[in-house]
């Protein structure tokens, strides 16, 4: 039997019971719509997180100082001060695959200018830091290697600090008191927005690490080291070399734990996306369940339809329809039902995503692949759940079917 004739018969049969058809499709419509909205929200969230991760810089490896336990209290990564400026020199000297490196110390501290004051993140870095994080200036200049060598009292400030202390005025050239030590602001940074963890990255004062150590915090060890590898391929190897070098320098016996912690950007990204992945999986399961429920609805209605149309099946068989023709007819009907539902579901999903992103401000990202997948899945539901009723119809005995009242 010809393809179009089959489709035509299927559409006619579905038109015959419009309300029933729509109600049956509803399961699929909601299922597919839910899939598309869920995937859209998931992708949107993922894209947002990826953008945040990218703001960390590329091919970045972070080394944290180890942790210590004093009187039974573990103070966490970076607190032990196991990393030193000499470690940084050794890394720069011995590991070729490193293009940029910046020692880091950080502290929360009070800053002030004029009669304003503000608590903010104080960062001591090398000029490489801005390159590693691809953080550009809004105004002024960066501090230099010369500033680092001389431990000059200069700094650059993030947008939030600039706004808090100076309002609309340009802070460049102004004096800022960092824990009561006067620094000259040489530049302001472009905003970077929220970090992966949700903290304001622009609430920061960055100064040469030497100045931070000697003039502000009075420490001799580093909290961490930011490193950029030359390429993504070298990331793992560089990470290994760093670990080996630092173990050697810190004289850690084989089998003992590191007194530092090396993480690359990938791992940080994975940690950050883990939650959204779990959420996506969970929502996909919910959507999948609703598709299955929709499929069962289709199966149910198809079984009813086969029973109702037993006589029709008998007539068709009497005039020469093979079992296969009947099977195809009912299967086509089920697939048409579920595919139509799928198309409407796609429309619902796209509309729903649009509404969510405009009214709730959720970032949704509907991809063509998710639409195609949803459609194929809905058609697949039709095949899967339509097959049994169709097969049942095709196996009817023509005599019994003709006699059916």
């Amino acid at each position: 039997m010809r393809f179009f004739a089959t489709i035509k018969i299927a559409l006619r049969a579905l038109r015959r019971n419009k309300l029933r058809t729509v109600l049956t499709m509803l399961g699929i419509i909601i299922g597919v719509g839910a899939v598309i909205i869920t995937v859209g929200i998931g992708n949107g969230a993922k894209a947002q997180i990826e953008a945040q991760i990218a703001s960390l810089g590329q091919n970045v490896i972070l080394i944290f100082s180890g942790n210590v336990t004093r009187s039974g209290i573990n103070t966490g990564w970076g607190s032990a001060g196991t990393l030193t400026v000499e470690d940084v020199e050794a890394i720069r000297r011995e590991i070729d695959s490193i293009t940029l490196i910046s020692p880091e110390i950080r502290q929360i501290g009070q800053v002030g200018a004029g009669n304003q004051n503000w608590s903010t993140q104080l960062l001591g870095e090398a000029p490489d830091y801005f390159e590693i994080r691809q953080w550009r200036l809004a105004d002024g200049a960066l501090f230099t290697e010369q500033d680092v060598r001389s431990a000059n009292k200069v700094c650059v400030v993030g947008k939030t600090v600039a706004a808090q202390l100076f309002g609309g005025e340009s802070p460049v050239g102004q004096i800022i008191r960092v824990k009561n030590v006067p620094f000259i602001i040489v530049g302001t940074l472009l905003p970077k927005g929220l970090s992966v963890m949700g903290t304001d990255q622009d609430d920061v004062v960055i100064m040469p690490y030497t100045s931070a150590m000697k003039r502000v915090m009075g420490v001799t060890t580093l909290r961490g080291i930011n490193v950029q590898a030359a390429s993504e391929r070298q990331l793992a190897e560089t990470q290994r070399q760093l670990t080996d070098l630092l173990r050697q320098r810190h004289r850690i016996q084989p089998g003992r734990d590191d007194d530092f912690n090396v993480r690359n950007q990938q791992e940080i990204a994975e940690a950050a996306t883990a939650t959204s992945k779990i959420m996506a999986v969970f929502l996909s399961i919910v959507a999948g369940v609703s598709l299955v429920v929709g499929g069962i609805g289709i199966m149910n209605i198809m079984l009813v339809s086969v029973t109702e149309r037993t006589r029709e099946i008998g007539i068709r068989m009497a005039v020469g329809a093979r079992g296969r023709d009947i099977l195809l007819q009912f299967l086509t009907e089920a697939i048409t039902l579920s595919s139509l539902g799928g198309l409407l579901g796609i429309a619902l999903g796209l509309g729903g995503s649009k509404i969510l992103s405009t009214t709730q401000g959720w970032p949704t990202l509907t991809s063509t692949s998710s639409i195609v997948m949803a459609f194929l899945f809905s058609a697949g539901v039709g095949v899967f759940f339509g097959f049994y009723p169709a097969r049942k119809a095709s196996l009817l005995d023509p005599i019994d079917a003709l006699r059916y009242e």
Binding site: R2, R311, M317, V319, R322, I399
Partner: protein, 253 residues
């Protein structure tokens, strides 16, 4: 002349639980092209079972059935479906038309399942010709619920003729019709028979059987009588007589 139908000692036994029902017990029969046969018998005589076997809807338990020279007694479901499609036309007591489907589309139905596909225009034309043959050409676009019983049965006959079968099988074709419409339908069969189509029908009405050429009577699964029809009725003549008598009744004040 080669027989259209040749039955050789056909048996059909149904197994219903513990009990064996012997519906047909040894029927041998030969039909040549152009015959017009009525099979009669009380209910339970096995005539419907025989009809199902003749119609390739059912297979005999024992015996040989040659249809148009082909042994069909051992064929599978699909092959029997093809035989029904190509060589047989069915007319049922309850018309069995697809509702919500126009007369023409009903007639096109067997062509839809034909192994050699026809273009939809060809199907359209053929259906038109078949409807013309039963005198319903102008009703082609009507749906069954817009047609009278007699007209519905004519559509069913047109459908049976769609694939130009060798044999027309009718199971009590006049069972649901009044006497005048019955005679009209018999007229259609007579006309088709004159054009060379072999017709086998089941009926329990003796006067309907007298429109055919040969009468078979079945009892307990066997053919007990097989006689040519003497004083065969002509549908046109009978119809005219009926109309005259009706007119006469109306003329009486």
């Amino acid at each position: 002349m080669n027989a259209v139908i040749q039955l050789e000692d056909i048996h059909k036994t149904y197994q219903t639980g513990e009990v064996e029902v012997k519906a047909v017990r040894g029927v041998s029969l030969q039909l040549v092209p152009g015959e017009f046969v009525a099979i009669m018998g009380a209910s339970g005589s096995g005539k419907s079972t025989l009809m199902n076997i003749l119609g390739c809807l059912d297979r005999p338990t024992r015996g040989r059935y040659l249809l148009d020279g082909v042994d069909v007694s051992g064929l599978g479901r699909d092959e029997l479906a093809d035989i029904r499609n190509q060589k047989l036309g069915f007319v049922f007591q309850g018309f069995n038309l697809l509702s919500r489907t126009s007369a023409r589309e009903n007639v096109e139905l067997p062509m839809l399942y034909s192994r050699r596909a026809l273009s939809s225009r060809e199907q359209h034309e053929r259906a038109g010709r078949a409807l013309d043959l039963v005198g319903l050409a102008e009703r082609a676009d009507h749906h069954p619920n817009q047609l009278s019983g007699g007209q519905q049965q004519r559509v069913a006959i047109a459908r049976a003729l769609a694939n130009q079968p060798a044999l027309l099988l009718a199971d009590e074709p006049t069972g649901n019709l009044d006497s005048q419409t019955s005679i009209e339908i018999m007229g259609v069969f007579q006309k088709l028979n004159e054009q060379g189509i072999t017709v086998v029908m089941i009926t329990h009405e003796l006067d309907i059987a007298r429109f055919t050429k040969r009468n078979l009577v079945m009892r307990d699964g066997r053919v007990v009588s097989d006689v040519p029809v003497e004083k065969r009725l002509n549908a046109e003549v009978e119809l005219r007589a009926l109309r005259e008598s009706q007119a006469a009744v109306k003329l009486v004040p």
